[in-house]
């Protein structure tokens, strides 16, 4: 039966303390203090919808190099880097999926994440010869001192869909499309324009969602009272509960929306919550996931026995547990482009990207693929015609070799205050990979004192630079301190 064969999530390390943001802005809007509890996930400066979707997909796919089973990729988001460049194509390249993978951007509504999953389910049901991946990521952007700034959260999630070995079978779905404009973001605009909350609640959620839930359950032939988990992202208090009641669901089925520790990740949030729910699901449970936006979409899943044994690399819970409280509201403003700050003359460097060069080196730059010499086994980055092996400079012997999921450690490093950086001091150094090879690269998600020679790191796909003059986002891989291997090493030492 068609259903979920894997899932993953991603929550950025930084957690903006809402109290810090509310306090900074309470003089403008005292009402913000009412939202000052808890924390929201805050993307690092070099993360965006694409990088978070990539990280979530890696969480679902695991470190195995062979990802040829994925035949289709649907990327759901409303905050992608490009309006006209296939964002899903960047995700595909970063994941080193086969070029034959069908890739689509699903966008234009807050239910884009769940729509990506709909498409993946439809593709597999339609006879796709392999699995389909629904990946989603959202970097919420809101004006400084707005309520949305405190309600939102940055995150990613990914769901793998297949026709065998499922963790949860897809047993019903329903959709309605209604041009109900609770908010909008015009083309080229940075921020949402929001209508009154009471109207959205009473005319939107309360009237549009329950019939869709009922229809999906009817298709699944499941009684509303038999639903174990109900997922409906919304930032409005009590709305998920009242919708559940109207649809006849048990009140205890309503899943906590992670508002206290993550915030609402927009189009990504339904899949973030689904991914999170699957982590603790038991066999035979019914999960209903719905997402609101110009109508509503709902899917019904029944978990299989396998859901209890299959686990993602880290999962939403793993990432949630690995947060760092951030109380510096100015950092939030800088990272989100909400303040004009003095970057200095060093930032004037032209970051124009030669698209020809990018294409020639596509797997190297986006996929972190190097080479392995078939004669000597020497592994190197980048792949070159003549091997770097000092004892055997073999010619034309290299085959592609993927570095992205190989464990590495720091050989040398520095924390640089001189260079232009969005989050100084900029850490970078020589990363040495287990199994061979090394790359001199940026280190991200790091604070002074975090690293030294020998620190284990993992590779993460991030924004390298922006070409602000031309609107081009440049991506590459960076090293991130590997907390899990650091903890394991510490434990072994003790």
């Amino acid at each position: 039966m068609v259903g979920i064969t894997g899932y993953g999530g991603y929550v950025p390390r930084l957690r903006l303390q809402r109290a810090a943001a509310a306090k900074a802005n309470a003089w403008l809007n005292p009402g913000l203090m009412g939202k000052s509890k808890g924390e929201r996930a805050m993307a690092n400066w070099d993360e965006d919808a694409i990088t978070m979707a990539v990280e979530a997909a890696r969480d679902a796919l695991g470190p195995d190099d062979d990802r040829s089973r994925v035949k289709a990729l649907y990327f759901g988001t409303t905050t992608a880097a490009y309006t006209d460049r296939l964002n899903a194509g960047i995700v595909q390249a970063a994941l080193t999926l086969e070029p034959q993978t069908a890739c689509f951007d699903v966008t234009g509504t807050q239910r884009a994440g769940l729509s990506a999953l709909s498409n993946a389910l439809a593709a597999v049901r339609g006879g796709l010869k392999g699995e389909a991946l629904a990946a989603t990521g959202e970097r919420r952007k809101a004006r400084a001192a707005s309520a949305q700034e405190l309600d939102g959260g940055d995150a990613g999630a990914a769901i793998l869909v297949g026709a065998k070995d499922t963790l949860a079978d897809h047993i019903g779905s329903a959709v309605s499309t209604v041009d109900f404009v609770d908010h909008f973001r015009g083309a080229g605009e940075e921020f949402d324009y929001n209508w009154e909350e009471r109207w959205i609640r009473d005319e939107g959620f309360a009237k549009i969602v329950p019939p869709v839930i009922k229809a999906a359950l009817a298709e699944a032939k499941v009684e509303p009272g038999a639903v174990d988990v109900f997922i409906l992202p919304t930032t409005f208090k009590g709305v998920a509960e009242s919708v559940a009641k109207k649809a006849g669901l048990k009140p205890e089925a309503v899943k906590d929306n992670l508002a206290a520790q993550l915030g609402d990740s927009g189009a990504a949030h339904a899949l973030v919550l689904l991914s999170h729910a699957l982590e603790s699901a038991k066999a035979g449970q019914v999960i209903v996931v719905a997402q609101f936006g110009q109508g509503c979409e709902a899917h019904v899943f029944r978990t299989t026995k396998k859901v209890e044994s299959w686990k993602p690399e880290r999962g939403v819970s793993g990432w949630l547990a690995d947060g760092k409280p951030e109380t510096n509201y100015m950092k939030w403003l800088v990272f989100n482009g909400l303040v004009e700050w003095d970057k200095g003359m060093r930032a004037e460097k032209d970051n124009k990207t030669a698209l020809t060069t990018l294409y020639r080196n596509n797997d190297m730059i986006l996929g972190l693929v190097g080479g392995r010499c078939t004669e000597t086994g020497t592994v190197q980055f980048p792949r070159t015609r003549i091997s770097v092996n000092p004892n055997n400079a073999a010619v034309d012997t290299q085959v592609p070799y993927k570095f992205a999921d190989k464990p590495a450690s720091i050989l040398s490093w520095s924390a640089d205050n001189l260079t232009y950086a969005m989050s100084p001091p900029n850490h970078y150094g020589m990363m040495v990979f287990e199994g061979g090879g090394r790359i001199f690269m940026d280190i991200t998600d790091v604070d002074p004192g975090d690293v030294d020679s020998g620190t284990p790191v993992r590779m993460v796909f991030r924004v390298k630079e922006w070409d602000e003059r031309r609107g081009f986002t440049r991506y590459f891989w960076k090293a991130q301190p590997d907390k899990r291997r650091m903890a394991a090493a510490k434990q072994a030492a003790e």
């Binding site: 092996n389 001189l418 232009y420």
Partner: protein, 400 residues
């Protein structure tokens, strides 16, 4: 190995502009300053020059491309001018070109001039630039101090040196260079500093503080070379001759192969070995009288003491702290203040190092004159620890 350059070419004139923030001078003024001193020293007319080599690194903001900036500034008599560039080792490259032209018999007398005008950018430190279209897409967003600071973490780890000991050792490197630079009227930085000042200075790139970084300076330096026979015929006595000229260039081993541990310069060791062989030096710690090394950062100088086989591997930091390389030590290093204090106008630096060695060998180094030096070594590096070019040159008394 080739027969080598030993004693085949003599230096008959050298010149060096005042280094520093030369708000008053453009690159042409700097070149003229160095050139006129060198020509006066050599005692020749422009018409006697057969060819010239011209080094400058950052052509975009400095002097421009090609050989014309030199020819125009000096009004050279339409002779060949070859512009060379090899990162911060460009100055040594110009010297190599001139020396080899003389050795080959292609020129009787050749000129080498290096210049850099760095203080026209509007900010401190080196100008920010791109290297082609691929490297910027992957390489870290870094700076020269950040790249060279990499040495510190790798060196500490390899040799088990504590952060504090290493910081003290590199501080001593800078204290020594400031003391030396204070005696050099042409130096950019002439202030004396204490170890406490160096250690307490603002951090630039961990663990390098402000005083661990060399001056970013404007300046030019020049050399005039010929055969020993022609030098003698022109009346030059007590000749300073070229003993060795070596250049080793990274081929990607350090940046791509795990055999390099990040704590030293692979190229420097190769260039040093070849230079000693070419010059007939068997025990550098005993035979080399003085050295001018590429102390772009204090930690670079520290590891270079080992790369030149003067200090034992892992013990360079102890020699530094023991004063072995101080002005009154066994092998004085950076007696002119080095890049640290004389300054570092990139395209000129290799020639500036040779200028000091030449003055010392000629006994014309004023307050900083060393007693009876025989052989002087210059080490001129360009790039970063993991990808670089390294020049090692030795000059000395004829017959030494």
């Amino acid at each position: 190995m080739a027969a080598g350059i030993r004693d085949k070419v003599a230096i008959i004139g050298m010149g060096c502009s005042k280094f520093g923030e030369r708000w008053d001078a453009g690159p042409d003024d700097l070149m003229v300053e160095a050139y006129l001193e060198a020509m006066g020293d050599a005692g020749i007319e422009p018409s006697q020059l057969d060819a010239a080599w011209f080094s400058t690194h950052i052509d975009e903001i400095g002097t421009g491309k090609g050989g014309t900036p030199l020819s125009l500034a000096l009004r050279l008599p339409n002779i060949a001018v070859t512009r060379v560039e090899n990162f911060c080792a460009s100055g040594s490259e110009a010297f190599r070109g001139a020396v080899y032209a003389v050795a080959a018999g292609a020129a009787d007398i050749a000129l080498a001039v290096g210049v850099e005008k760095l203080k026209d950018t509007g900010y401190g430190g080196l100008p920010v630039g791109n290297m082609g279209t691929l490297i910027p897409q992957t390489s870290p967003n870094g700076s020269a101090p950040g790249n060279f600071a990499q040495l510190a973490s790798a060196y500490r780890t390899k040799h088990g040196v504590t952060k504090e000991d290493l910081k003290r050792a590199i501080a001593h490197v800078s204290v020594k260079s400031h003391a030396n630079g204070s005696k050099n009227p042409k130096a950019h930085l002439r202030n004396v500093v204490t170890e406490e000042q160096v250690i307490g200075a603002p951090m630039i790139a961990e663990p390098l503080g402000l005083f661990d970084c060399c001056g970013v300076s404007d300046g030019a330096a020049a050399a005039i070379v010929t055969t020993p026979e022609i030098a003698a015929s022109l009346g030059h006595k007590g000749l300073v001759t070229v003993k060795a000229l070596q250049l080793s260039v990274s081929n990607g081993l350090e940046s791509q192969h795990n055999s390099w541990d990040g704590s030293y310069f692979h190229t420097a060791r190769i260039a040093a070995k070849k230079a000693y062989k070419e010059a007939g030096v068997e025990k550098p710690r005993e035979q080399i009288s003085m050295i001018e090394v590429h102390d772009c950062f204090s930690v670079t100088e520290l590891v270079t003491m080992e790369d030149l086989f003067i200090s034992e591997e892992g013990k360079g930091w102890r020699d530094v702290l023991d004063g072995f390389y101080d002005a009154d030590g066994k092998v004085p290093c950076q007696i002119d203040g080095g890049l640290k204090c004389f300054g570092h106008p990139i395209g000129a630096s290799g020639l500036r190092m040779l200028y000091e060695m030449y003055l010392q060998l000629k006994g014309r180094a004023g307050d900083r004159q060393l007693a009876n030096p025989k052989l002087g070594l210059t080490h001129n590096l360009g790039g970063s620890p993991s990808t670089n070019v390294c020049s090692v040159a030795i000059i000395g008394q004829q017959g030494a």
